[in-house]
C-alpha cells in the first residue's frame, strides 16, 4: 500500500553528494526497508566527503539544481580516518563564501547519516525537499547563464532555449 501521491506544481531538483561507506549505505537501507522519501533527490556517490570538491556544488547549482545535500559518515567513523573532518572545515568555510556572494543557504544542507540511519536519511531528504519546494526554483545561476557580455549579445532564441532545457 502506497500512501497517495500528493501533486505539486513545483518539483525541486535536489542533488545529493554522498559518501559510499555511510550515507549511500544509509540511503540503501531506507530503500530496502521500503521507507518512502521524495524522489526529487538524485544521489551521486563518492568515496568520501573529503573527495567532494566545493566546485561540484557550484556546478550542480549552475546546471539547474534547486537544492544540494552533502552527506557522509559521522565524525570518528570515516573509512579514511579523517576525510570527514577535513570536509567539515572546508564546507564550514565554503557555505560562508556562498552566503557572502548571495546564495540562500537554505538550499544547501550538510548531514551525517550512517549506514544504520535509513530513517535519518528519509528525514533529511524530506526536510530539504520541502524547504526548497517552499522557496521555489533556484533562478540565480540559471539567469546568469542567460547573460552575455553586451557586445556579444544578439538576444538569441538559442540561449533562451538552452535556459529552458536546464
Amino acid at each position: 500500500m502506497h500512501p497517495e501521491k500528493q501533486k505539486h506544481t513545483f518539483e525541486p531538483k535536489i542533488i545529493a553528494f554522498v559518501c559510499t561507506w555511510c550515507t549511500y549505505a544509509g540511503a540503501d537501507l531506507a530503500g530496502t526497508s521500503r521507507m518512502q522519501y521524495p524522489p526529487n533527490v538524485r544521489v551521486l556517490k563518492f568515496p568520501c566527503t573529503g573527495r567532494i570538491d566545493p566546485v561540484f556544488i557550484l556546478k550542480a547549482f549552475q546546471q539547474g539544481a534547486d537544492g544540494v545535500l552533502v552527506s557522509g559518515c559521522h565524525p570518528g567513523d570515516c573509512h579514511y580516518i579523517a576525510g570527514n573532518f577535513h570536509a567539515r572545515r572546508r564546507f564550514a568555510v565554503f557555505r560562508k563564501l556562498l552566503e557572502f556572494v548571495g546564495v540562500d543557504l537554505n538550499r544547501l544542507q550538510f548531514s551525517w547519516v550512517s549506514a544504520a540511519e535509513g530513517g535519518k536519511w528519509v528525514e533529511v531528504v524530506t526536510d530539504l525537499t520541502e524547504k526548497v519546494r517552499a522557496m521555489g526554483p533556484m533562478t540565480e545561476f540559471r539567469e546568469l547563464a542567460l547573460e552575455e557580455q553586451w557586445s556579444g549579445a544578439i538576444n538569441t532564441p538559442e540561449l533562451e532555449e538552452a535556459y529552458n532545457q536546464i
Binding site: K59, V93, L97, V101
Partner: protein
C-alpha cells in the same frame, strides 16, 4: 577627512636598501635581488631583478612600490635565477605571503635573503603613481595593516613608520554587504563579476596561484567555463576565493591589478574573517606547516550539519 601620511622615512629606507644590496651582491651572499626601481611615468616604480652590485643604485622604495615581489620566487615564474641565494625586498604584507609559501614547501628560508621594508603604506591602484600618499589615496589593504615592520628578516632599515589610525576600509565594506539580503548581495556581485574579462591578472600576480596548470585551464573535465561571460566569471571568482581560503596572506595584489576594478580582496578578507572566527587562524610572519583547511580538530564547529 583627508589625512596626509608621513612617508619621509622612505628616502632613508631606499638608501639603506641600496647599501645592503650593494654589500650582499659584492660579497656573494646572493646571486640576484628582486626589488623595485623607478619607471618612466612620474613617480612610478616597477619590479626589477638585479644581479650585479653596480645595479644596486637602481633600487628604491616609494609609495608607488605596490607589487608583492614574492610572486617572482614561485614556480609560476621560471625566469628568475634559482642558483644560490636570492635577495628580495619585502613589505610586511609581502613577507606574510612568503611565510605562507614556505609553509607550503614552495620555498626554503635558507635560499632567501630577506630585506624587510618599514612601510607606512603604498598607493591605491585607482590613483596616478605621482599622487601624494594620504588617507584617501592609500591602498585599502594598508588601512588594515598590522605588519608595518616585517619580522624575521635578514636586514631591516632602522627607520620606524608612522601611520595615523585609519578607517578599516575592508571591514567597513564587509559589514555593509553582510547587512544586505542574499538577493541584494547577489545583485552586487553579479554587477561586479559581469565586468570580468578573464585576463587572469588576479591569478598571475597571486603568490599562491603557483599551480603548474590551473583548474580553470583544464578542459577535461571543464569545471569552470573559460568564456568571459557572467556565469563563468562568477564561478571563477568563487573557485579562486575558495582555493585561497586559509592561504591568502592579504597582499591584495588581485584587487590592485584588476583592470576592471573588481573588489576581489573583499572575498579574501571575508574568508580570512571567517577563518579567524571559526578556527582562530590568521596569516602572519611565522611559518606553519598546516593551514586551517588542511588540518582539523575533533571539536570543530558542526552546528550547520544535521
Amino acid at each position: 577627512m583627508t589625512k596626509s601620511i608621513d612617508t619621509s622615512i622612505y628616502a632613508a629606507v631606499s638608501e639603506a636598501i641600496r647599501a645592503e644590496a650593494q654589500r650582499i651582491l659584492s660579497d656573494g651572499t646572493v646571486t640576484a635581488i628582486v626589488g623595485y626601481a623607478a619607471a618612466r611615468r612620474k613617480g612610478s616604480a616597477q619590479p626589477i631583478v638585479i644581479s650585479s652590485a653596480d645595479d644596486a643604485a637602481k633600487l628604491i622604495f616609494t609609495p608607488a612600490c605596490v607589487n608583492n615581489l614574492a610572486v617572482y620566487l614561485t614556480k609560476a615564474k621560471k625566469e628568475i635565477p634559482k642558483k644560490g641565494k636570492v635577495g628580495i625586498v619585502v613589505k610586511g604584507c609581502d613577507l606574510k605571503a612568503l611565510s605562507g609559501l614556505m609553509g607550503e614547501s614552495q620555498l626554503k628560508r635558507e635560499d632567501l635573503y630577506l630585506i624587510g621594508v618599514p612601510c607606512a603604506g603604498v598607493l591605491a591602484s585607482t590613483v596616478q603613481p605621482a599622487t601624494e600618499l594620504t588617507s584617501d589615496s592609500i591602498a585599502p589593504k594598508c588601512t588594515e595593516c598590522d605588519a608595518q615592520l616585517p619580522g624575521g628578516c635578514d636586514f631591516v632599515p632602522p627607520q620606524a613608520p608612522l601611520t595615523p589610525g585609519q578607517t578599516r576600509k575592508y571591514a567597513a565594506e564587509i559589514a555593509r554587504l553582510e547587512a544586505l539580503t542574499p538577493a541584494e548581495r547577489w545583485a552586487y556581485w553579479k554587477e561586479q563579476f559581469s565586468k570580468c574579462i578573464k585576463c587572469y591578472a588576479c591569478r598571475q600576480v597571486c603568490p599562491f596561484c603557483f599551480c603548474e596548470q590551473c583548474l580553470c585551464d583544464r578542459n577535461k573535465p571543464q569545471m569552470v567555463d573559460t568564456t568571459p561571460r557572467p556565469a563563468g566569471n562568477t564561478a571563477w571568482h568563487i573557485v579562486r576565493a575558495m582555493h585561497l581560503a586559509g592561504r591568502c596572506a592579504g597582499c591584495a595584489e588581485c584587487e590592485r591589478v584588476c583592470p576592471m576594478d573588481i573588489p576581489l580582496n573583499l572575498l579574501n578578507r571575508k574568508m580570512a574573517k571567517e577563518l579567524k572566527e571559526l578556527y582562530d587562524y590568521e596569516a602572519g610572519f611565522e611559518v606553519n606547516d598546516k593551514g586551517p583547511l588542511n588540518s582539523y580538530t575533533e571539536k570543530d564547529d558542526q552546528s550547520f550539519i544535521k
